[in-house]
Symmetry: C3
Subunit: 467 residues, 3 copies
């Protein structure tokens, strides 16, 4: 057996019993996945996944960053190079390298997710190792060819009620169009991620602005035309079900410039004539502009700040973005958000969901902010912290100040489709364990804990994201 | 039953037994409340509290900030506006709004304090809800009219041995005078809080200086006269039992300027001719001046830094200060306190109690500082952290470096009079739970744990604050 | 009984059983002590320790800082003054002062280490107190005269397989030479600590450079000669078994200047003609230079940043360095290390072990960095955090991102020779407790936990430090 029915529940028997009872009521609730990075092409084309290595290893930066940290070359894991120089092509060889290093994942969430997937989807009961690598490979490879392992079949098997993908402002949403026309009933919506046309430091920003003008028919060489392009594009995304926007900035800084200053700033960043600090200021201003549009159009706004992207120069040059070298950094919210909050902090029609990679901000800044401002809600433990201990700390550090109802349930935030049930299951179990602890120490009654468990597993995400 | 006799004790039976034994010895100890914000008028006039809403909801920013964060307007909770524009006046309506949102407080200390109060003072055994809101209201309303619910009767019932209120330097201490003349034996002392005449950013600072001169008979237009006014006023406060001073600065910064520079700085801030940084520098210098006076007069000094006050502009404009929009921010102590410590860090006759709203400083800065400097002691988990998890973290993060004896027991720090027994009870239980864990993991013997439990519940506060 | 066989194991019986089983397999493993500050003279001369106070109290800043924080004068503990002004000379009097304050150490690791030492080495079963201070003194004093309490006999009794001392670049390694020539088989190696010739703020830096030139025969007035002196001296240290270097900087900042800029900077700091920021920049550049040499010569590099040394001016003036007044401060790694990592982050032949005194960096910076960069490993919880709760937090905050295999086992880092077995025992127990918790909550199988326990107690330190 790879996964134990009591995993992640408290060890203490009385608390474990409470956790079991809470979990039994919510384990089969549908999955609301309001923020993630699965590929809409999967749902659109509904083709079989190619092979175990290409499915599990090559695209998962949680996996290859750990292997890389222990001396396994990315080339040997089949990660494609930017210049096309050769990398390992044999999926079985890649799989074996992964399998023989499976012990590296001890104590990590990757291990929990994978074991869950291996057992529940493929029926494995023996831990992956060098010894059984081929047996694993063969069984998974065979399964992937079956119709019940196609993306849409899995969608239904996973009981996904709604899932959001994330697309850039420039994305034509072709796959979403295909899904719509297919008549398939699975609810796959997009989310508006304008970073490529909002962040002057983004690769190709100025060309992106041109393209943004072309696809929207707006004059994106002017500030007003640029803003209009966002409005149009947000409407286009809403046509494909989008209920939210997402903003992945290095910091949470916001600004509220006068129109004249904003125009001048836009001129500088859009013509490449910008000085030190302009890029940061423009991103800051655009968060406030996006909030203004959300007040108008009702889209829920998400801020995902604090990642120092592509920290490893050599890896970035050779392999590109998202190669496991994004490192969190200290993130201030109290001063950073003030300009936006001064303008919109008390709007009845705005929801702004905050995420962090800096856990110090949970109790010091985020819970006090969300426990006061009507527009603010706390996103769940994110990225490096979407793991049992990280999730426990999130609750311990935020609940006493912000309560449960200023949080928004779980986001899986994943590219790894097969891990979605495992990730939601971990979140549900960890929340039940937390609640069981409150019940057992007599801080909450069990009838209430059942209600909260349901809210955290299902209702809060659905309502916060208007899904 | 609203409150369980084993609440907040460890779930594990052996540890729970130890916690029970420890707690049984200290549960009935008198309350030392060396830092708080109850209104001295209550003890002076000893009048009945008006009604449940005015007692519980309207003045408690823990309660209305949570309701506000979830969309309840402050006007609808009866919070008075600055311009006198109308707000809800019916206490029963306010109470119902609060009751129907009682679930928002799940997992928060407010819930624990209220349930304790509802059961022990008013005999409720059913959780507050929309359903029983009126029954609650009626029973509390009736009880409040009885003599045993008058402030002095409660004082005795709560077994308060000594309580400190907090008054500004400008306060005439009229209520304390009334208490003294009344012959009542309850020990209510004041504490010296000079922020309005020390912080150049305080509303009305320059007028406050003028008033400060009038009431002390000192020439507060000069640096030496201004310092003399503090000396006189501290003596006046000591006449009313004050043993401590309290300083609520945005940062913990201290300075130690030459007399000439301090004089020049005072001239600038007192005439309004001050530049950027002058206000912060003046507050910094004044902490060192206050320490100098404490070395002379023996008053215990408290620094409460790190709150970004009145973060929500709209709320501040409409409702004023203390409206639940104070947000913690990152706080440095290591560099900030150095000027003061360079001068007074090794004084045998000085006690300087440090508080924080930035938990990262517990283990990194505060415990190492208090575990070395003879003048420094650590105040308890404060404000957003005066809750079970927050208190547990305080012990876990400070004890291994600073031990127990560089801490000063508990402060309830509250405006909510009826919550005082509940708050001390929570602190006592959480400390017993922490000690029980040390005993059960064989890091401390049970005989010692009993001694420490007594010290944390009673002796350390009494001795540190000289009460 | 002073120490319980189940100390530091989880209270919950099932988890405790797992912890017992894990610990039973590793408790008697040899000690690898790859980083510490024991005096090589002890092993060289193998003389008896003088008396209990001189052995336990006078040299241990964990002990005297706590006593000092509670008002005991350092003079009264026999700490020598710089100017030779008189201090307590009677060891028994010092010992009594310590004994009567033994309660101050409740809840601290010092207490755990001492009780372990008192029971296992001297057979005490009654807690130290004022009452039995003399009996303790007499028994320890007598024992220290016996041959089995000589340093080499204890080395063998402690089952030390290898221990590293730490010497400055200027140290002649005379004691290591004596050990080598003695034919004794105990493995005592040195480690290269170049701070006195790398840190322009170090007392006597410029004279140190001159001396550095004399002992290496290099022209340390030039940049190339200075670097050559390091190379030579590193080789000399390797001759005495050194496998590592250690760098105790105020920050983790690194730099990668052009040769011309580095030369100019060296000229400024070595001639005393340096401006603001030059000292910090030079230390930063030297970390990168040291990494370059490690790539060549294979020495493992350790960075111990973040201590604000000698924070208490009065204590520093009167007693000198290392007097318990070193205070951690906020430490950034993400930006600070980038210049070094840009150059060497992907080197197969480099190991760079990072330590921190700022726990906020564990989950936010250090685990993500070590979980990606092949050269980076995480050192164990250090200094103020080498205690049960500190060690637990280290695992909880790093494992989910970096796993176990990007950490390097335990370092005792101590000057207190007799505490070495106790410190390793605490680390082993805390790791077993952590693993037991993973097993009991079904995140790890017990067979794997046994392997990890062995790795953390023995293998990882041995391999990471090439011992």
């Amino acid at each position: 057996m790879l996964i134990h029915p009591d995993r992640l529940f408290p060890a203490e028997p009385a608390a474990r019993d409470v956790a079991r009872r809470l979990y039994a009521e919510i384990r089969d609730l549908p999955i609301i996945s309001p923020h993630g990075h699965t590929d809409p092409r999967w749902y659109a084309e509904n083709e079989a996944f190619p092979d175990p290595a290409t499915l599990f290893v090559v695209p998962d930066h949680y996996i290859f960053r750990m292997l890389y940290s222990q001396g396994v070359r990315l080339e040997d894991l089949g990660i494609p190079t930017k210049d096309g120089s050769p990398v390992e092509k044999d999926p079985r060889t890649i799989w074996r390298r992964f399998a023989e290093n499976y012990h590296l994942f001890r104590g990590t969430p990757t291990r929990v997710w994978l074991d869950h997937t291996f057992e529940t989807l493929f029926g494995f009961t023996e831990r992956l190792s060098a010894k059984n690598a081929d047996a694993y490979y063969d069984r998974i490879d065979e399964a992937l060819r079956a119709p019940e392992f196609r993306p849409r079949a899995l969608f239904e098997r996973f009981r996904i009620e709604a899932i959001a993908t994330t697309e850039s402002s420039l994305d034509p949403l072709r796959h979403h169009e295909t899904i719509r026309q297919s008549g398939w009933k699975g609810r796959v919506v997009t989310a508006y991620r304008p970073d490529p046309v909002v962040d002057p430091d983004f690769d190709g920003f100025r060309q992106n602005l041109v393209r943004f003008g072309e696809i929207t028919g707006c004059d994106t060489s002017t500030w007003s035309g640029y803003l209009e392009a966002h409005r149009k594009r947000r409407a286009f995304f809403r046509d494909y079900g989008a209920t939210s926007t997402d903003h992945g900035h290095p910091t949470a800084r916001t600004a509220d410039l006068s129109k004249a200053n904003a125009e001048a700033l836009f001129r500088r960043v859009s013509t490449g004539d910008s000085g030190s600090g302009d890029a940061e200021l423009f991103r800051a201003q655009m968060l406030t502009e996006m909030a203004a549009m959300s007040v108008e159009d009702g889209m829920v706004m998400q801020i995902h700040p604090g990642s120092f992207r592509n920290h490893n120069n050599q890896i970035y040059s050779r392999f590109g973005r998202d190669m496991g070298a994004d490192i969190p950094s200290q993130t201030d919210y109290v001063s950073a958000l003030k300009p936006l909050l001064d303008r919109f902090g008390n709007e009845p029609n705005l929801t702004l969901i905050l995420f962090t990679l800096d856990e110090t901000s949970y109790s010091r800044e985020l819970a006090p902010l969300a426990g006061h401002y009507p527009v603010l809600k706390l996103g769940p433990a994110w990225w490096f912290f979407d793991a049992p201990e990280g999730m426990r700390r999130f609750r311990e550090l935020t609940t006493e100040t912000a309560g449960f109802y200023n949080t928004v349930g779980f986001n899986d935030d994943t590219r790894a489709y097969l891990s979605i049930p495992a990730r939601h299951d971990v979140a549900r179990r960890v929340d039940c364990a937390y609640l069981a602890n409150l019940v057992t120490t007599h801080r909450l009654n069990e009838d209430e804990a059942h209600e909260v468990a349901y809210d955290l597993a299902y209702r809060l995400a659905k309502e916060a994201y208007k899904l």
